[in-house]
């Protein structure tokens, strides 16, 4: 007998702030957090705005005994560690992280705790690597293609030694571990003592929702009672910006300072999206266990579906937009079947829409195919104008917002400075009460992975 899964804790980290309160209050106040980039100098890019998490230090979210480990955390890992901590607190769970506090034994046995955290391709810190590489330059013409960098000087076995301080030894011994995608989940499992199934999904923007689906499967089949689930990524690095520019998604920002007016979901003339850092960890719990400990539950994760596009959207691939649409449609239909619902049961949709016109149009065609003439009556919830595109963390923030909407029976404000077509209810709107029985959350990657989840009101 499959077990129901509740969302009992939310930890989101975004430019709106750390924790569930800043996210919900910011969205309800209609306040975008997208502003001028300061973590790097964006003057070499046409897109100069984004979503930065301010006043955030990972050491504040780990036990004292673990503070040294923060040194080996890339920003993506720090965000996940922060999100996990606020999620645990929000859920009222006791984990190994509370070991310093007397009389607090963990809510669950370690072997019953799982962890599924989506991650991106983490960019190495450019300064650290460049400074190390600069020790290995040569004036050999053969090295000119790499800007003078010499692999011979990079290696450390040579007689006589070329330069006592040169080469790869300038990178810290654990350098690579800062950037392995599975380190988000690994640090979280170590800090909170999760010894059950864990995984790291790396499917770009689809990663977070796919991770929720994986946690649900694990709980449903009885391999864990509680899971940390979601994703996190920082796109705010030189390489992150450059890769995003290469995909054609970045909005030029000119002299603008208000990013919330630039990200315009479903507007066919939208200029593109803005990058961000952040993500979220949701605490998923088996219903009986959650009830037994008297946990407050935001929503039930009642359905999940995934589907792959047979074309993908690599810029080099053959174009077949109709198949692309169908992939998201198939994912939504699978989620509805899984939840035992029909399209008529869905009251709102937490959309993926990034303000990237071609992709938003694809999403819209899929939604139209599933919901037909009813689509204009279904409320759309969008997160991108508030917090930007946070890659592998994106879906977790969508899901967090959807869970909060279901819990509060309230739709947060919608920001949209553009003109979405009339067939989708995505234009600007204030915060308003709503009857939300079932909310659909959708996400898609440009690699063609699509996923859909349904969050339902607990009655």
């Amino acid at each position: 007998m499959a077990r129901d899964v509740f969302i009992t804790g939310i930890g989101s980290v975004s430019a709106l702030g750390v924790g569930v309160q800043p996210l919900w209050e910011g969205m309800c106040a209609g306040r975008s957090s997208l502003g001028p980039l300061t973590l790097l100098d964006p003057s070499g890019f046409s897109s100069k705005l984004g979503g930065e998490v301010k006043n955030f230090a990972a050491k504040d979210y780990v036990p004292k005994s673990y503070r040294k480990a923060v040194k080996v955390m890339a920003r993506d890992i720090e965000l996940a560690v922060g999100a996990a901590k606020v999620a645990v607190d929000d859920a009222g769970l006791v984990t190994r992280s509370h070991a310093d506090t007397p009389d607090r034994s963990p809510s669950y046995e370690a072997s019953r705790m799982g962890c599924h955290i989506g991650a991106g391709l983490i960019a190495a810190e450019t300064l650290e690597l460049a400074a190390a590489q600069a020790t290995a330059v040569s004036d050999d013409p053969a090295d000119a293609a790499a800007g003078g960098f010499s692999l011979r000087n990079w290696g450390t076995v040579s007689t006589p030694a070329l330069s006592p301080k040169g080469g790869m030894d300038n990178l810290p011994p654990l350098w690579m571990l800062k950037y392995l995608p599975n380190m988000l989940a690994c640090h979280v499992t170590i800090i909170h003592g999760c010894e059950g199934p864990s995984n790291t999904i790396t499917c770009a923007e689809a990663s977070s929702l796919l991770s929720l689906g994986e946690s649900r499967r694990v709980i449903e089949r009885g391999d864990a009672d509680v899971c940390f689930s979601g994703g996190a990524e920082s796109k705010l690095s030189l390489m992150g910006l450059m890769r995003a520019e290469f995909t054609g998604r970045l909005a030029p920002t000119g002299e603008a300072t208000d990013g919330g007016a630039i990200v315009r979901p479903f507007d066919p003339d939208a200029p593109g999206t803005l990058l961000a850092e952040g993500g979220g960890i949701l605490i998923l719990e088996a219903e009986p266990a959650a009830r037994a400990r008297g946990a407050r539950a935001y929503a039930r994760l009642s359905g999940f579906g995934a589907a792959q596009s047979p074309t993908g959207y690599l810029p080099t691939g053959p174009e077949a937009p109709e198949a692309e649409d169908q992939a998201l449609q198939l994912a939504i239909e699978a989620a509805l079947r899984d939840a035992g619902l029909s399209p008529g049961d869905i009251d709102a949709i937490a959309s993926h829409a990034l303000g990237w016109a071609d992709h938003d149009a694809t999403e819209l065609r899929a939604l139209s195919a599933v919901f037909g003439a009813r689509l204009p009556d279904i409320e759309i919830l969008t997160t991108a104008p508030f917090v930007g595109d946070m890659g592998a963390g994106h879906g977790a923030v969508q899901a967090a917002a959807a869970a909060l909407a279901v819990f509060h029976q309230t739709l947060p404000a919608r920001l949209n400075a553009g003109r979405p077509p009339a067939r989708v209810r995505a234009g600007a709107a204030p915060t308003r009460p709503a009857t939300l029985r079932h909310v659909l959350v959708v996400s898609a990657s440009i690699g063609g992975q699509n996923s859909a989840a349904i969050l339902s009101r607990i009655t």
Binding site: A130, C186, T189, I190, G305, Q449
Partner: protein, 444 residues
């Protein structure tokens, strides 16, 4: 689901440093051959580890009917496509045009694509000011935009292997890529098995692919001191369970399996090669660099796989043999892994442990990182189908702390003992991720 869905393997393919056809590579493994030699892909002459197990002479065009669909695909994606084509053909899916692609999914542990090292480095140096030891972001961006290529950068995303596989085979079902370091493709196959059991798909392409034989990949592992530095004798550098082992040898490649629900396979006349009987996954939750000294995460993963397969690892079977006939070790050849994996196997099997053969093909293939688990699982399938166990090579100086039956230095024919019917395949990753799959002979 009221009736239990059983999952079989109906096809498999690989690209390895010892070759690309399943039976040919298997024959070389049984002969104890290895593929270790100097790194040729870049100048590693001064690297503490200057050798690896490279895939040589790989001709992508010979493996896929229309290579033009994959113009910009990176090396590891090409490995995966070639391996998947073999698996697809063996499963007889070429002839099965009515396959419902919505019921065909993918679960991969594909690694990131290889970095465009020269142009990336050039950008870094253009941005770096030696005098102030600062980075000029604008100068970096100007150089990078000029030097880097958009398709090459986008293809480095770890989900792009899925995209190409979908394009090649028309996949429309659920698709996932996971990166749990060296445990990734065992996890991918295990999760694919679970997806089919749950009913989310009838057929899954599952496996892994990876190449880290590039300057920063090798650098990263050298800095971690995880690789052998036996520069004077690369052929013997990978020596799992040997007292003098000094780390792994980097390999590269791909392993892809077709997993299929039994009824689906039989209905279309496919031949199950073996049955997937169990899967276990756990986290050490201990340290990012060290394995838990008791191997408790490894024990948990193996035990769960056994339980799911209905096996009590401490009880002999009706024939008096241990119920598990072979364990494919993670067996990297690092001091720590091999010692603790041995402890874990002893804990799992108790007094039966010395009677359970337990070898590491990494002594011949090297460590294929994210592809290792799928390739090693395939060696278990071959062991079941041929009754022969692959050896652990280069095991010359026994380590008193590694005192199990590692099938040392020569393959073993188990047919006289009743063959090989049940195998476990272990993969453990940095950060404490443990995955084990149990496969057994298919008997209807």
């Amino acid at each position: 689901m009221s009736t239990r869905r059983r999952v079989t393997i109906t096809g498999m393919g690989w690209v390895t440093p010892l070759g690309t056809d399943v039976s040919g590579v298997w024959a070389r493994l049984v002969r104890g051959e290895n593929a270790f030699g100097p790194i040729t892909r870049f100048n590693a002459s001064t690297f503490a580890t200057n050798f690896a197990a490279e895939v040589r002479g790989f001709n992508f065009e010979a493996h896929v009917p229309d290579p033009g669909k994959h113009t910009h695909a990176g090396l590891s994606t090409r490995f995966a496509l070639a391996a998947a084509r073999q698996a697809w053909s063996q499963a007889g899916l070429d002839a099965h045009s009515s396959l419902d692609r919505r019921r065909l999914g993918m679960y991969f542990g594909a690694g990131e694509g290889s970095l465009d090292f020269s142009n990336f480095t050039r950008s870094n140096l253009a941005g770096f000011d030696l005098a102030t030891r600062t980075l000029n972001d604008q100068a970096w961006a100007t150089e990078a935009r000029q030097r880097l290529s958009a398709p090459v950068e986008i293809e480095q995303e770890p989900n792009s292997t899925l995209t190409h596989l979908a394009r090649e085979f028309g996949v429309r079902g659920p698709a996932y890529n996971c990166m749990t370091a060296c445990a990734a493709s065992t996890q991918a196959v295990g999760e694919a098995y679970e997806l089919i059991k749950r009913g989310d798909a009838d057929t899954m392409l599952a496996g892994g692919t990876h190449s880290m034989i590039h300057p920063l990949g090798i650098t990263g592992f050298i800095r971690l001191t995880a690789m052998s530095t036996s520069r004077e004798d690369p052929a013997r550098a990978s020596r799992p369970f040997d007292k003098d082992r000094d780390g792994f040898v980097m390999g590269e490649g791909a392993g892809v399996l077709v997993l299929e629900e039994l009824g689906h396979a039989l209905a279309r006349g496919a031949t199950p090669l073996v049955e997937v009987a169990g899967f276990g996954s756990s986290a050490d939750a201990f340290r990012i660099t060290d394995i838990h000294p008791d191997g408790k995460g490894a024990v948990a993963a193996m035990l769960q796989a056994c339980r799911m397969a209905g096996i009590n690892p401490r009880e002999p079977g009706e024939d008096g043999r241990p119920q598990v006939h072979y364990v494919s070790a993670h067996g990297t050849g690092t001091q720590e892994n091999d010692r603790i994996e041995t402890i874990a196997v002893k804990t799992l099997f108790g007094s039966l442990a010395p009677r359970v053969p337990f070898s590491s093909v990494k002594s011949m293939l090297g460590h294929l990182i994210q592809a290792a688990g799928a390739v090693e699982l395939m060696t278990c399938v071959q062991a079941i189908r041929t009754g022969v166990l692959p050896p652990t090579m280069n095991l010359r100086n026994p380590d008193p702390e590694c005192d199990l039956d590692y099938v040392p230095n020569a393959a073993r024919d188990c047919k006289p003992q009743g063959g090989v019917r049940v195998c476990l395949s272990n993969s453990f990753g940095f950060g404490g991720q443990n995955n084990t799959i149990c496969v057994r002979a298919f008997t209807g």
